[in-house]
């Protein structure tokens, strides 16, 4: 008699179910929190507490994102729009970048039918936010509107999908450069379909580099890993230190990375 072994599909389904059940208890993008609250999570770990303490010299707050495998893209989407939506010139530049991204997607073989709804949601959301600000919406109300829009499943997921598509299109268009770094697949199309475009698939450095290059948006990621040897949390610039040095026009975003998860950080 052979034991009844679950199929790959059943295992994948169960895995998804466990993640979904856990994730749904969390908002997609949570409220602003003092960074000191993070130390409460690490009562038993001196190494983590030391690193958080070092982070506090530069950062004052964080905003938690749902841990559903989309956290990098979700955190990026929120932090990006939050950084620019009050500034008309930056909004116009971002809208132009979004319009140009459609050309990148089409060149990479995406069907307009498959991406135009998501692009439209990204564009409309930013336009709505910007218009409300131009019409004199107060700072606090504008912030609330941003949170409401980007915590709604429809808008937030559409932005996550579209940022995934941009990342995928960029990698496909620059595959000679990135192919040597793939561990999970031997060709770029397979890698992109399975590990970039698919919802819930976690992001690695390659995703971050591609997305920040494609959009021309600079990002700093603070790594909190509980390392015994580094008291200070390491901060990595993306796409690269060189591009940061020359890219004065960058909108700069800040994220916190803990093994397997991204949240948004706010500077002092």
């Amino acid at each position: 008699m052979t034991a009844r072994v679950p199929t790959d599909e059943q295992i994948a389904q169960h895995h998804q179910h466990v993640i979904a059940e856990h994730a749904e208890r969390q908002p997609l993008v949570g409220p602003w929190q003092d960074l000191a609250q993070l130390t409460n999570e690490y009562q038993g770990s001196e190494a983590y507490r030391r690193q958080i303490h070092s982070l506090q010299t530069q950062y004052r707050a964080l905003r938690r994102c749902r841990g559903d495998g989309n956290c990098f893209f979700r955190a990026f989407a929120f932090a990006w729009y939050e950084a620019i939506f009050r500034d008309r010139a930056k909004v116009d530049q971002a809208l132009q970048t979004l319009a140009q991204s459609a050309i990148l997607l089409e060149a990479a073989g995406f069907e307009p039918l498959a991406y135009e709804d998501f692009l439209e949601t990204c564009t409309e959301t930013l336009t709505t936010l910007s218009q409300q600000v131009q019409e004199g919406l107060g700072t606090q109300d504008a912030q609330t509107l941003l949170e409401q829009l980007l915590d709604s499943t429809e808008v937030s997921n559409a932005m996550v999908v579209y940022l995934r598509f941009i990342t995928s299109a960029y990698l496909r268009q620059h595959q000679d450069e990135y192919l040597p770094f793939l561990e999970e697949a031997t060709d770029m199309a397979t890698f992109c379909a399975r590990y970039v475009e698919a919802m819930g698939c976690e992001s690695d450095q390659i995703h971050i580099i591609a997305l920040t290059r494609a959009l021309g948006v600079g990002l700093r990621v603070a790594y909190l890993d509980g390392s015994q040897t580094h008291d200070a949390a390491t901060i990595h610039p993306f796409p690269s230190a060189d591009e940061w040095a020359t890219g004065a026009q960058f909108a700069s975003l800040h994220l916190l990375y803990r093994p397997g998860h991204y949240d948004i950080l706010y500077r002092q």
């Binding site: 429809e154 997921n157 999908v161 399975r194």
Partner: protein, 160 residues
């Protein structure tokens, strides 16, 4: 996500309806919702690829679209009986990675139909739902496989 799925499916329905007939000569036909009242239940006819036991056959496939589409894949099954290593002989369930674990939201229902058409000429005997058909292929009995699939096609899939 219901609203965005409806919007997307309406667009796809309109797109396929107005498509140039020559666009459809890609291995499938009549990709459309089964009725006007339910946008989430689709169907299409997959044409048997030339030089296979399915040649000349027209296979109806039912496509159930979830309200999370396109984040999640549609569920497809053959309504017309078919003998294929990756199709369950009783339920018509299709074992195709892009419809399960390897789905990408960048795909459309048209892409799904193309993939099913391709599966007919490129079976994967290593992940069988129909062990008899897979067994013939695995043991290298292509003649036996050809005649078995051809017989099923003649019995069930000839256009009326």
């Amino acid at each position: 996500m219901h609203g965005s799925a409806v919007r997307r499916l309406l667009k796809e329905a309109q797109n396929y309806q107005t498509a140039n007939p020559s666009d459809c000569a890609q291995g499938f036909r009549r990709l459309a919702p089964q009725s006007d009242s339910d946008l989430f239940a689709w169907a299409c006819i997959i044409d048997g690829p030339d030089d296979t036991g399915y040649q000349g056959g027209a296979f109806q496939v039912a496509i159930a679209v979830p309200d999370t589409y396109p984040m999640q894949p549609p569920t497809c099954r053959f309504v017309t009986p078919i003998c294929h290593p990756n199709v369950h002989p009783k339920t018509g369930e299709i074992c195709l990675d892009i419809l399960k674990t390897a789905w990408s939201p960048a795909w459309t229902l048209k892409a799904v139909c193309l993939a099913i058409h391709l599966l007919l000429s490129s079976p994967e005997p290593s992940s069988p739902l129909n062990c008899d058909a897979a067994g013939l292929l695995r043991t290298g009995d292509t003649l036996g496989y050809q005649s078995l699939t051809h017989m099923y096609t003649q019995l069930y899939a000839l256009p009326q």
